[in-house]
């Protein structure tokens, strides 16, 4: 019963994150051609309020989210239908990786229970390492990253870290089910 509940929980989380990714892809496609101007701004601020406010529901919500979440630099964002995506390529990669990571977390298995936390931490570090190296190197002007690299490092970070979190919740559920049986 508890494993069925948890499968439903995993499926719900996966569907929600997938729906969010689809919304982000659909937003520039569903809006009229060239209706989104350059959105470049800074994260944590609403830089393009008047433009976004004029968009129809639900696309305005998606672009509001992107405006707060991301810098939305136009040279670092996908463009389709003449419209820029609501978030940059790296952030899109993170969101794209999340539903895949949630699904893949079922396949994460370790040989011994003692090593689980260590392996999960190593996996989490592996997830963050490429995005941090790429981001820090770029911030200090050591190199200029490319859009495919941004997408790959973002997907790795989003996918692996969501898989690690789901595996953590999985282990907790398994323990709770075992202690309920005792």
């Amino acid at each position: 019963m508890s494993s069925l509940k948890f499968s439903l929980f995993r499926l719900t989380l996966c569907s929600l994150s997938l729906a969010f990714v689809l919304l982000m892809v659909s937003a520039p496609l569903m809006l009229p051609i060239n209706s989104i101007p350059e959105l470049t701004g800074s994260p944590g601020d609403i830089d393009n309020g008047p433009v976004i406010h004029s968009l129809p529901v639900p696309w305005n919500s998606v672009y509001y989210f992107g405006d707060i979440w991301c810098h939305q630099r136009s040279d670092r964002s996908f463009t389709t239908n003449g419209n820029q995506f609501p978030v940059c390529i790296r952030c899109f990669g993170i969101f794209f990786g999340i539903p895949i990571g949630i699904l893949m977390s079922r396949q994460l298995r370790f040989q011994t229970r003692q090593d689980e936390s260590r392996w999960l931490l190593i996996l989490f570090m592996i997830a963050l390492f490429p995005i941090m190296i790429d981001g820090i190197g770029q911030a200090f002007g050591l190199w200029e990253s490319s859009n495919p690299v941004r997408f790959i490092t973002g997907s790795l970070a989003g996918g692996i870290s969501s898989a690690v979190v789901m595996k953590g919740i999985d282990l907790h559920q398994a323990h709770m089910a075992k202690s309920a049986d005792l």
Binding site: G44, R113, L121, V164, V165, G168, Q173, M176
Partner: protein
């Protein structure tokens, strides 16, 4: 009495690490901003900005400490660690929402989930 606290530990630790990344960034920016205010003669405002910007960093460190308490797994450490993670997860969430810091908000939510998991964990003999 010990419980298998791996799940709660991992989730709260990841939350703490995400909060720490955001907290370090905000503290760095806050110190520059605060120092500039102080240099312009508004030392009171400069100090306030510096203190506020360090709140996220302090919360994240306390969440990390709490997660290591959870890892110990005995009922006393589990309770103490979970309460620490929950309290500073809420503080981080308020701080993140106030400053619109997405990474801090996500880290705090994960810390709250991890803290709840640790709190509800039933230690097994």
């Amino acid at each position: 009495m010990t419980g298998d606290s791996t799940g709660a530990f991992i989730v709260s630790l990841i939350g703490g690490i995400l909060m720490l990344i955001s907290g370090l960034f905000v503290a760095f920016l806050g110190s520059i901003c605060g120092a500039s205010f102080s240099a312009c003669g508004a030392s009171g405002a400069g100090t306030t900005i510096m203190i506020i910007s360090f709140l996220g960093l302090i919360s994240s460190i306390l969440v990390l400490i709490g997660s290591f308490f959870i890892k110990k797994g005995d009922s006393d450490s589990l309770r103490k660690g979970s309460i620490l993670v929950l309290i500073f997860g809420v503080l981080g969430l308020v701080f993140g929402a106030w400053g619109t810091l997405p990474l801090m908000i996500i880290g705090s939510i994960l810390a709250l989930v991890g803290g709840y998991m640790g709190y509800t964990l039933k230690p097994t003999p």
